[in-house]
Symmetry: C2
Subunit: 572 residues, 2 copies
């Protein structure tokens, strides 16, 4: 079945779960009225359904390839990209000063979710440009802004992020690419970067690389890193890209999935670059970009999960097999208890993960619009949860989609397998999900858990107010928040970070389950009478939420027994 | 890192967990003495390490292909197969009358585990032949036995299973391939079968297809199915394969993994076949084969999980990244809490799944050797648990292996991704894991749960005896068995099968966690002093076992809220 953008779901979540209307009340987003948002969702949805989704399988079958140093992209990707750029989607949340639409980030996040579901390999390109736009808006000089932003926002040029080197992955501070000042804010960049998504293409006039590098006398580690704009073609003062910079695509990786997205080794040989932000202030600039990029990756996972779910559902309602237990039903496998269990698991997880991600996006918008610390802290806390849960759901739902297909799921022509292969990397890049969890229990709890406790209070208050209408569900959600509160209190009282890190991943998942249940409960409350959303909420709260108890038990074991297991014990 | 067969682990499990010595005491297996078993494990291990494992990546890169109707296999597979056949491994458990070794099935299962870890794509070929040997031993006429068994056992010929048709997958009874009697026990077979693993090759003299088909006046459903031997080349009375039968390989599938194993559509056009077993008795004959084949698939999952674990561990002890928290440690990522958590999860799950599978294999052996119903019931009960948990562990461990590798895990050259792609189908074929769970809660509980309760009694008695030595672990295992007993009692009291099926998958996993903890506790008890096995046991019991509570809560929800969710609710 072809992908259909779930625009009504986004609208429902905006209206009933995450309170997008709060952004309408701010000056910054005054123009993003409800009717504008509705029109935006429908228009983006139509683009995804009609133009982008048909490219997904082509990208898998015809990988991007390197020919004489130039990347050739999959058939149709150039046209798909042009449609995205022409629609103004790349700069949907960018400042209007340089041609952006200035929409709330929450709306862009919904659009990115749809684009990811339609064709993740292509969507990575505009997503990276969006991150670059944001970094430049916050940190670049006026000259660089004026030169680059209009081109990036229009999509004439695209952007990339260059962090990783072979010895510097999660440990960005270990990077060794060099930058030497040449005067006039110009630098010579030399080094080799790996895993550069969309390092090149054959459909934009220029490719702009944001590169992390180290000045000659810079301090060791992350405090000695600076950020540079290093374009493929150096623009003249009118912005016409003219002279080829001294950088090249060395090779493309053979990846498990995302074949349509070229992932390159990129080599810089004294390439000209311009500093973005302060010398040795590269990490700060990069973090601006990375935080929102992490939310972009969250909805990559969620978007693919949505597509995999739709695909599996379409198969399950058509495929006849065995005697089905529902009298007067369709007589297809959707009636079988276990298939239904899988489909309900998939749909309810997508809803939960999407609600968390959009809640995070609204907090980012409110932080930007009001400057209030509470909003910013909330966004910071929800970011790693959104990223890790969203992408874990992407993996779990897509692999369940294969299972729903039975033997057909293993045949590539079906398309079910591609979702699992494409989405797999989302749990790894932009900080592995393990790193996200460490970020959550360490950096994001330097406030002694204030942001966490505020969220839990919100969950509990809402559950209290739902007790009359949904006594069982409300009781379960309230109790889960209490259990999580106790575990959080335990966690923030651990001074040895290893005690926090040992259970970081289970803690993050437990937090997501509680927030997911909160969203489902709100959905039930918003529904008139007992409808589909209430029934799905009940499934999630009664059957999936209970895992939080086991996860939090894991958390409270701390490091002791885990660290007792040596590498030799494991067989090394 | 190259694969190393974990022979010491098999020996430990045989000696301390599953009681292989019980088979030594039977007349049937009197010759399989401890020193013979030890020598067998070492010899098979050496073959896997030196000859088979190096083929794994080649099979992925050079898929089997169809050329003018003939399958061409990956480079080196012919030599690898010859080494397996020459070692006598195909007939390791087959009757000595026809050239087999007559070893316990448990020993063969350990060998199959190693072979799967070394190269699953190749291992499928001998595994299918083993299943065919077993079906012929139990159900074929003496003429067929004499003609086929020596050739299959020696590996000169290979065997396949032909069940599935495009409209008959899990619902085998829906098949429509026709068989018409031609006199003298000969039949003409016409129809099309799909998903035929190793339907052809270029290294055996003949390929023998066991085909399920329907006689003209057969009853509908599974009661009207008969089983036929349909060879690619029809042998003369001296067993020389001479005349080409009227069957052909129509096409090969493009699968997500297992590229070295050709999966075919096979078409029979009045092909000559000979009946195996009684007319309309095909399902009975097929079940003999399928039950043990399911255990073969269980160790496919476990073997790949072992290989993926070893691969991830080797990377984790070499890769330096970030500041590691263990003073005086290796300074590599194996020291990071979350990496260690993942590796401990992987290793402890492999041990648990392997112990369950080998316990099932010993029960099969004891059933065959003694004819006692209790042993047979135990084997029947443990089969679906072994299959589903073993293959789920295969998927979970291999995807965790990718995660341990970080970005490198997504690059195919690393080999981590191949494990996830290869193992994915094991949760689907030989009865999906959903079907296994349905089998467990329905057919395998027609004894009102007797087999289940006997297992739980064993778990509880052992936990009782461990209370002095390991009070915490023993207490946790004992309590989990009690919780599981209550859920089992609830389950067997449900007459509406939908109430059982709705929680069948969670129930199976909970049962596996309890049995896995039981095996870990026994391992700790067998260890002198507190060593690696005790530390790993503590990890599994304290951090992974607790999930059983949530799973059993899911079970006891029954069908009500799940069946309330309609296909329309899901979006259909």
């Amino acid at each position: 079945m072809p992908y259909r953008a779930p625009t009504a779901d986004f609208q429902f979540i905006f209206d009933n779960i995450v309170g997008l209307e709060q952004t309408y009340a701010t000056e910054k987003f005054a123009e993003a009225t409800p009717d504008v948002v509705e029109a935006i969702l429908l228009e983006a949805g139509k683009l995804c359904d009609d133009v982008i989704a048909p490219l997904n399988r082509i990208g898998d079958l015809e990988p991007a390839r390197l020919e004489n140093g130039v990347v050739r992209t999959s058939t149709g990707f150039a046209q798909g990209y042009a449609a995205i750029a022409d629609g103004g989607w790349i700069g949907a949340a960018a400042s209007e000063e340089f041609g952006g639409m200035g929409l709330p980030f929450a709306v862009l996040t919904a659009v990115n979710d749809m684009m990811s579901g339609a064709c993740l390999a292509l969507q990575l390109n505009p997503l990276l440009t969006q991150g670059q736009i944001e970094a430049l808006e916050h940190h670049a000089s006026d000259t660089i802004k004026a030169l680059y932003l209009p081109k990036l926002i229009s999509g004439e040029w695209s952007g990339t992020m260059n962090l990783t080197e072979s010895a510097a992955g999660s440990d960005v501070g270990a990077l060794s690419t060099k930058a030497v000042a040449m005067g006039d804010g110009e630098y010579a960049i030399t080094g080799e970067k790996i895993y550069i998504s969309w390092a090149d293409n054959d459909f934009t006039q220029n490719v702009c690389h944001l590169v992390l590098a180290r000045l000659p006398d810079a301090p060791a580690g992350t405090r000695g890193i600076s950020l540079f704009m290093v374009p493929k073609l150096i623009p003249d003062e009118n912005g016409v890209p003219e002279i080829a910079n001294t950088l090249k695509v060395v090779s493309l990786e053979h990846k498990t999935g995302l074949h349509g997205s070229p992932t390159a080794v990129l080599s810089f040989d004294g390439a000209k670059g311009w500093i973005v932000g302060q010398e040795n202030g590269g990490m700060k600039a990069m973090f601006t970009m990375m935080n929102n990029a992490r939310l972009g990756v969250a909805v990559e996972g969620i978007g693919v999960a949505e597509a995999a779910f739709q695909h599996a559902l379409a198969y399950a309602v058509e495929r006849k097999q065995g005697r089905t237990p529902v009298e007067g039903g369709r007589g297809t496998i959707v009636e079988h208890a276990d298939v239904r269990r899988m489909l309900a698991t998939m749909k309810s997880q997508v809803f939960a993960a999407r609600s968390i991600a959009l809640s995070c996006a609204v907090a980012i918008d409110m932080g930007n619009a009001t400057g209030e610390a509470d909003w910013r802290d909330r966004a910071a806390f929800l970011t790693p949860i959104s990223k890790a849960y969203g992408t874990d759901v992407g993996i779990e739902v897509s692999t369940m989609g294969v299972q729903v297909h039975g033997g057909m799921g293993y045949i590539e022509e079906t398309g079910a397998g591609q979702f699992t292969r494409d989405v797999r990397v989302t749990a790894i890049y932009e900080g592995t999900n393990g790193i996200q969890a460490m970020d959550l229990v360490a950096r994001k709890m330097m406030d002694d858990g204030d942001a966490a406790f505020r969220l839990l209070e919100e969950v509990e208050n809402n559950a209290e107010s739902a007790r009359g209408q949904f006594p069982q569900m409300a009781g379960a959600v309230w109790a889960s928040a209490e259990t999580l509160r106790e575990a959080t209190e335990w966690l923030v009282s651990q001074d040895d970070m290893s005690d926090r890190f040992s259970g970081a991943v289970p803690f993050l998942k437990a937090f997501a389950l509680v927030l997911g249940s909160h969203a489902h409960l709100k959905a039930a409350m918003a529904e008139e009478g007992e409808g589909p959303r209430t029934r799905l909420a009940r499934f999630y709260v009664k059957r999936l939420l209970p895992e939080h108890v086991a996860l939090l038990q894991h958390v409270r074991e701390g490091k002791k027994d885990l660290f007792a297991i040596t590498a030799e014990d494991l067989g090394a």
